[in-house]
């Protein structure tokens, strides 16, 4: 009995990890290709068919390079926290339910995810502050200040979802969207959630931490090549988490006709991811104080309005 469940757990862990790697890799390629398309370029073409192996070549190159830790850096923090960040995001994906009872399905999944997710800006702050570079330090400060702007609206928009579904269990939330997905029922909530999620995922127009035209690479200025590979992995895993959350909470998750659930989930996640990439290609970056203003004067009232509307229309 014990060995059975343990064996299943191992299989699930491996299966979900393969899923993460598959998404990260495909998304990395898709992002390069779609941004290239938006800019009248071809993107990667040489390595593999349609350049599909380009990212693999890049990862091999990055991992083969020497890892340099700057003299001013706090060595322990600087070399462990990026790995912790990666571990955090991978762990968060393990907390999500997948179709066919894959994944850990805990009863307070939604709460656990958003509580743990708020550690991410803190870990980014640690990396930036530990690297001993002033650009990284500014980026670290921005990371913390940004989280003040978007975290509250994010939680509130998720609260409306939990309110409607009457449960913190994500599988229950997905199943309560069987008739109509939440994006139709609470469009305001979706907009708030999507925008706050963009900030959480460090995607333009909210990529203030990585702001390449201002801070060179933000908290990643001083990381060596192997850690940069880790940071890329973090970025894409975070993207997977974000697009999974968007599709699970608002787009109906794995529910859909004809195709198996997992395929539907991946299709929805990829669609959300590509929309985010298109936004990346077109918008300019927001400023920190404007983001604060936007978060508190627009997102927060909208999130509250969304909760009130949800309560009055559906729950009461």
């Amino acid at each position: 009995m014990l060995t059975d469940s343990f064996g299943r757990l191992i299989v699930e862990v491996i299966a979900i990890f393969i899923l993460i790697v598959f998404f990260d890799y495909t998304f990395g390629w898709l992002e390069r290709k779609s941004i290239a398309k938006a800019q009248f370029r071809h993107g990667p073409t040489y390595v593999g068919k349609f350049g599909i192996l380009q990212n693999l070549a890049d990862i091999v190159k990055l991992l083969a390079k020497e890892n340099i830790i700057p003299k001013n850096a706090d060595k322990l923090v600087f070399s462990t926290v990026p790995l912790l960040l990666l571990a955090l995001f991978i762990f968060l994906i393990y907390l999500l339910p997948f179709p066919d009872s894959l994944g850990i399905d805990i009863s307070v999944g939604l709460l656990a995810i958003f509580v743990l997710l708020s550690f991410a800006p803190l870990l980014i702050f640690l990396t930036g502050a530990a690297s001993g570079n002033k650009f990284s330090l500014i980026s670290a400060q921005r990371s913390v200040i940004m989280s003040l702007a978007y975290e509250v609206p994010l939680i509130l928009s998720v609260a409306a979802v939990a309110l409607y579904a009457g449960s913190f269990n994500i599988a229950d939330i997905v199943n309560s969207q069987a008739k109509i997905p939440f994006i139709v029922l609470m469009p305001i909530g979706f907009v708030v959630f999507f925008i706050a999620m963009l900030a959480e995922l460090e995607r333009p127009p909210f990529d203030l931490r990585e702001a390449d035209s201002e801070l060179i690479a933000g908290w990643l200025v001083d990381v060596g090549a192997p850690y940069y590979a880790v940071a890329l992995f973090v970025d894409y895993t975070r993207m997977f988490l974000g697009s999974l959350l968007i599709s699970l909470l608002f787009l109906g998750g794995w529910l859909g006709p004809y195709l198996p659930g997992l395929i539907w989930l991946l299709i929805k996640a990829f669609v959300a991811a590509v929309v985010i990439v298109i936004m990346r290609a077109t918008t300019v970056r927001m400023r920190l104080d404007r983001l604060m203003r936007f978060g508190w004067f627009w997102l927060l009232p909208l999130a509250v309005l969304n909760i009130i509307l949800t309560f009055m229309l559906f729950v009461k």
Binding site: I35, A38, Q39, F40, R41, K134, F135, I138, P204, P205, D207, L208, A211, D212, S213, E214, I216, R280, A281, T282, T283, V284, R285, M286, R287, L288, D289, R290
Partner: protein, 363 residues
């Protein structure tokens, strides 16, 4: 607590080798100290050691984004010194090529500006594609894509090819459509508006006191354009209107450049219509140039980046002393005043809106 950050000379947004020592109080800029001279090549001194027409190609390298404007400025100075007047058709040819060069320069600026605001090269690639078409057209005329060296005493080296008008009109129609797209794309984007409006305000009095010129000056509400106020070539015949904005912020500077490109399209169309037939070729470059008549000359031209001026003390075969007023250099000096009190993130949008070419600053 004040923080001092060293931005550049290797930084993605300094447009070359500009070093800024920025003093920050939190996120607010207390002081910006530009350090220049990383690209100093001594063009003025080089010109003293060369025959008059040998220096033209050096002058083009001062501003590699709009090289033809500088070669025109230099050749105009030499022409003035020798008392040569350009031929009637050559005036039109020069005007058309220079206005195309202005559009090309402003297009590159537009792309780079959006880059500074945090876009990942999308606008840059779009405007570069349009700029490429203009470069192709200029290549058809001069045979070169980047450094044309097409100006000669009294005219141009190569006249416009026979099918130029047709190609140019087609290109202008295309560009007009593209500019409309760019305007919608940028001005309907609230984030772009937020990042540019009321950012980096340069007041009218300050702009005049600091001596800034070109689009930066006109964005501050000063109606001054060398093309109208000290008209050269055939600008007065073409009813040229300078584009002026009153606000003096980054958005006004963007708007002035956008409108200037449209004005250039109008100018080129008119010039193509009015252009007389005939000869536009100037004197070939010879070792011994015609005798110099003036001992001192001063010429001013409206370059894409502002007002360019050459002061030349002449000698028999080469300049005795040449001084160049580079518009980027003067415009950079305004940065310190504009950026004070702005947010750190706005430093680069302000810097970008000044349209600097570091080679032009350092000479």
């Amino acid at each position: 607590m004040l923080t001092r950050i060293n931005v550049g000379p290797i930084h993605p947004s300094t447009h070359g080798v500009l070093r800024l020592v920025v003093t920050l109080d939190g996120d607010t800029i207390v002081d910006v100290e530009p350090h220049i001279g990383f690209l100093h090549r001594g063009v003025e001194k080089l010109a003293e050691n060369r025959m008059y027409m040998q220096s033209e190609s050096y002058m083009e390298k001062i501003d590699y984004v709009a090289p033809m404007a500088y070669s025109d400025l230099y050749v105009a100075a030499v022409e003035e010194a020798m008392g040569i007047h350009p031929k009637e058709r050559a005036k039109y040819v020069r005007l058309i090529l220079l206005e195309f060069q202005r559009i090309a320069s402003h297009l590159l600026w537009l792309g780079a500006f959006c880059n500074d605001l945090g876009q990942i090269f999308t606008m840059f690639m779009w405007t570069m594609k349009d700029r490429d078409l203009i470069l192709n057209l200029l290549q058809d005329v001069t045979g070169s894509r980047m450094f044309y060296v097409n100006m000669r005493l009294g005219g141009v080296s190569i006249d416009l090819p026979p099918n130029f008008e047709e190609h140019a009109n087609k290109l202008l129609d295309y560009l007009e459509k593209r500019f409309k797209d760019y305007e919608t794309f940028l001005e309907k984007n609230p984030v772009f508006i937020e990042r540019t409006k009321d950012v980096g305000i340069l007041k009218r009095e300050d702009a005049i006191a600091l001596g800034v010129t070109g689009p930066v000056l006109r964005a501050s509400g000063v109606n001054f354009d060398v093309r109208r106020d000290y008209a050269y070539y055939v600008y007065e015949k073409l009813h040229f209107i300078p584009q002026v904005q009153t606000k003096g912020d980054s958005f006004a500077r963007y708007k002035v450049r956008m409108r200037e490109m449209k004005e250039s399209i109008k100018l080129i169309r008119d010039a193509l219509k009015l252009m007389p037939e005939g000869d536009a070729l100037g004197m070939p470059i010879k070792l011994i140039s015609p005798p110099v008549k003036e001992s001192e000359v001063i010429v001013r031209r409206e370059l894409p980046r502002g007002e360019g001026m050459i002061f030349m003390v002449t000698d028999k075969q080469r300049p005795y002393r040449l001084a160049i007023r580079a518009p980027s250099f003067i415009n950079l000096s305004a940065l310190r005043y504009i950026a004070k009190g702005a947010r750190y993130a706005d430093l680069f949008s302000i810097l970008g809106s000044l349209d600097l070419v570091m080679a032009d600053v350092d000479r």
